[in-house]
């Protein structure tokens, strides 16, 4: 198998690429993006309201980028955009599968992502561009799923390295009451143990329901948060685990003790941030903003990167055959550039894409992990998340 690729690549190098695509018909390479929108309360901040084209705008930019290269290669890329609710997701997935599409990008929660990838079956390559659950990369892993979204463990490890570099090892962990908050809190506990931090106190912020945004709601919040964080054990930093977006953004400046907040608010670990400018990021942000008339979100970046992986495979193999592309993406020869300053590659033990994690405030990138001080025998990126010896994934 390995041999086949080498031959393919050698063939690619010899093929003097035609200056003007002289092939009569460009090779079509179809893909789909399926976004499953849940009915949920609006976010705490209206700045976080999801735009209608969330994720799809990233797909459009990827198509532009792929097609610019495809123009020289005789390849034409397309990605259909499908939205669904949790109730209609299976039917929409079936409709995509009925079209014979073999590259499907999913933006959905953990459980839906897992169910849809099983529905897609072994012949289809599913890109997980949204779900962060560690179980999807562990006990519940699937061979046909490539995780482009970083896992909880990668995000919390990225922050843990920075906090240890900062010499802030005593953490006050506040997590929400939803199952996804609990899962995230588990990732924080694991990161603390892995990097030698200590969780000196844990509290649960219970979601009592009701509206999250009310006129002059800040009046009550201002009294509520200091009281909630009162008399905690001596700590260096407050860690918020709030996947459900109930309380974390109320914490900064309202904690009882004057301590920085990290995690779901304050300093936040992310795959992408619209202020990121390093490694050619400026041009990438500009291209996106011209196309979408808004700033790029993590979902857009992750969908873009998923479809760029397909495009990169098509360029390198000079093929539009889905079997060839899938095999190449899973081969050790594959890498993709994602404006993170180094090649991004797929972990063979759980199909997670290795990637640096940005630690961001509202306006800027404060740091990028892995931190230089954390070494690894094969790739510094494998200091983030579940490494080969720890994985529970068995394909």
């Amino acid at each position: 198998m390995r041999l086949k690729f080498i031959q393919l690549l050698a063939g690619a190098a010899l093929l003097a690429l035609p200056a003007h695509a002289q092939q009569p018909e460009p090779v079509q390479i179809p893909a789909a993006v399926l976004r499953v929108d849940e009915t949920r309360l609006p976010p705490l901040s209206r700045l976080d309201l999801p735009p209608p084209d969330l994720g799809f705008a990233g797909a459009r930019l990827a198509m532009d980028d792929n097609d610019t290269t495809g123009r020289f290669m005789g390849q034409d890329f397309e990605a259909i955009e499908v939205t669904a609710t949790p109730d209609t997701a299976a039917a929409e997935m079936q409709a995509i599968l009925d079209q014979g599409i073999e590259f499907i990008v999913l933006l959905a929660d953990d459980a839906t992502t897992l169910a849809l990838s099983d529905q897609a079956g072994a012949g289809v390559m599913v890109f997980n561009a949204g779900a962060r659950g560690d179980n999807l990369r562990g006990a519940d892993c699937r061979f046909n799923m490539i995780h482009v979204a970083p896992s909880h463990a990668m995000l919390t490890d990225a922050m843990a390295q920075f906090l240890m570099w900062k010499s802030w090892p005593r953490w006050f962990l506040i997590h929400g009451s939803h199952p996804e908050d609990q899962a995230l809190a588990d990732a924080w506990r694991r990161a603390a143990a892995k990097f030698g931090a200590r969780i000196v106190e844990e509290r649960e912020f219970e979601d009592t329901g009701g509206a999250r945004r009310t006129d002059s709601g800040h009046v009550q919040v201002q009294a509520q948060m200091p009281v909630f964080t009162q008399r905690a054990s001596e700590h260096d930093v407050v860690i918020a685990a709030d996947e459900a977006d109930v309380f974390a953004n109320h914490l900064p400046y309202l904690t009882w003790d004057p301590r920085p907040v990290a995690g779901s608010a304050g300093l936040v670990p992310r795959s992408w941030h619209p202020a990121m400018e390093a490694w050619g990021g400026t041009q990438f942000q500009n291209r996106f903003e011209r196309l979408a008339n808004r700033q790029m979100r993590e979902e857009d970046y992750q969908v873009w990167l998923s479809l760029r992986m397909v495009g990169e495979a098509a360029t390198r193999t000079q093929s539009g055959d889905p079997e060839v592309l899938k095999e190449f993406i899973l081969s050790p020869e594959f890498d993709v550039a994602g404006f993170k300053g180094q090649a991004l590659t797929v972990r063979d033990w759980d199909h997670q894409l290795r990637q640096p994690i940005l630690l961001t405030t509202g306006a800027l990138t404060t740091s990028v992990s892995p931190q230089d001080q954390y070494l690894h025998q094969t790739s510094a990126l494998d200091t983030l998340g579940f490494d080969r010896p720890e994985t529970q994934c068995r394909f």
Binding site: A19, T68, F72, N286, A337, Q342, L381
Partner: protein, 322 residues
């Protein structure tokens, strides 16, 4: 020393022809200025503001005009290298990053990173002669010694585009490894080197057949492969040695340019970016973006002999001709 330097500077202004030789110009991307070094004494002569986010820098073959890509001003600024006074500007298209002058000194070929274009500008009439659509994020620019081809590398399309300088048509596209940053012909035009930052390789391309004849890869004991990111490259005029800046690995690779095998790695400053020889090729200057200095390599001995602090985040470097 100071006194000596002053009298030297005085002599420079009196004898402009001699004076300029070996003067070294370094763009500082973050401090928005150019540091000028004396190529003999390695002393800083001065620091001069040059517009916003200066990156690519080059000088006319007669040494009379210094060109600077002011990326955030969307313009190329032209300076008198003697006085560092701005003479005029050239239209560049948006976000100019790197450029190359035709061997005759005209025109100037500019990569517009933000617009997927190569802009061709007549440096005398200051008119745009052509805009050539290329791949996504054009960056590196090389010109063949006979001036027939300009080669542009596009960072996201991962190709070296050969552009005919007569017709402005792309005549060939050569697929290379990820994020190609720089294109450098040998002086006899027989080989083209293209560096790939993320791919970690240098492709050796035969400009006659457009074929990749070899890929040079790098291995440094104790340095993880992802830190080895080839960016700037320069080859000696006798075609014997190629130097490749390896970015965050803080090394410059020395390559035997006859066999294209790596001979040595030289430790320089942090995030080494671009390179420039002195006209006699005795010294090679490197810009080190994260340590705010330049390293000076003795080319015969392949030793780093000095580092000189410059402005913030030095990016490009050019040495005045003899």
């Amino acid at each position: 020393m100071k006194h000596l330097f002053c009298s030297a500077a005085l002599a420079l202004t009196l004898l402009p022809g001699v004076a300029l030789a070996n003067r070294v110009f370094i763009t500082n991307e973050r401090s928005n200025d150019v540091t000028v070094l004396d190529g003999e004494s390695f002393e800083v002569i001065g620091t001069y503001p040059v517009g916003n986010r200066p990156r690519g820098i080059t000088i006319s073959p007669d040494g009379s005009e210094l060109y600077v890509c002011a990326s955030d001003d969307d313009i190329v600024r032209v300076f008198d290298p003697e006085t560092m006074q701005e003479m005029h500007t050239l239209p560049s298209g948006p976000d100019p990053e790197l450029f190359v002058l035709h061997p005759s000194g005209n025109p100037l070929y500019i990569a517009n990173e933000d617009d997927n274009l190569v802009t061709v500008v007549d440096v005398q009439t200051r008119q745009v002669l052509a805009e050539i659509p290329v791949g996504v994020e054009p960056e590196g620019m090389g010109v063949s010694p006979d001036g027939r081809y300009v080669v542009n590398t596009s960072e996201t399309t991962n190709m070296a585009h050969f552009i005919d300088t007569e017709t402005y048509e792309i005549v060939a596209n050569v697929l290379v490894d990820s994020r190609p940053r720089f294109a450098q012909f040998t002086a006899d035009g027989s080989k083209l080197y293209v560096t790939s930052e993320i791919g970690g390789t240098v492709s050796v391309i035969d400009p006659e057949t457009y074929e990749i004849t070899k890929k040079i890869s790098f291995e440094i004991p104790g340095v993880l492969p992802e830190a080895i990111q080839p960016v700037g490259a320069r080859v000696t005029s006798d075609g014997k040695k190629l130097y490749v800046a390896l970015g965050p690995s803080n090394r410059v690779a020395v390559v035997d340019a006859e066999t294209d095998e790596v001979i040595d790695y030289l430790l320089v400053g942090q995030r080494v970016w671009q390179l420039a020889f002195t006209p006699d090729e005795r010294y090679l200057y490197t810009t080190n973006g994260n340590s705010n200095d330049v390293s000076i390599i003795d080319v015969q001995r392949d030793e780093v002999i000095r580092s000189v602090p410059v402005g913030q985040q030095p990016w490009g470097v050019v040495v005045a001709p003899d």
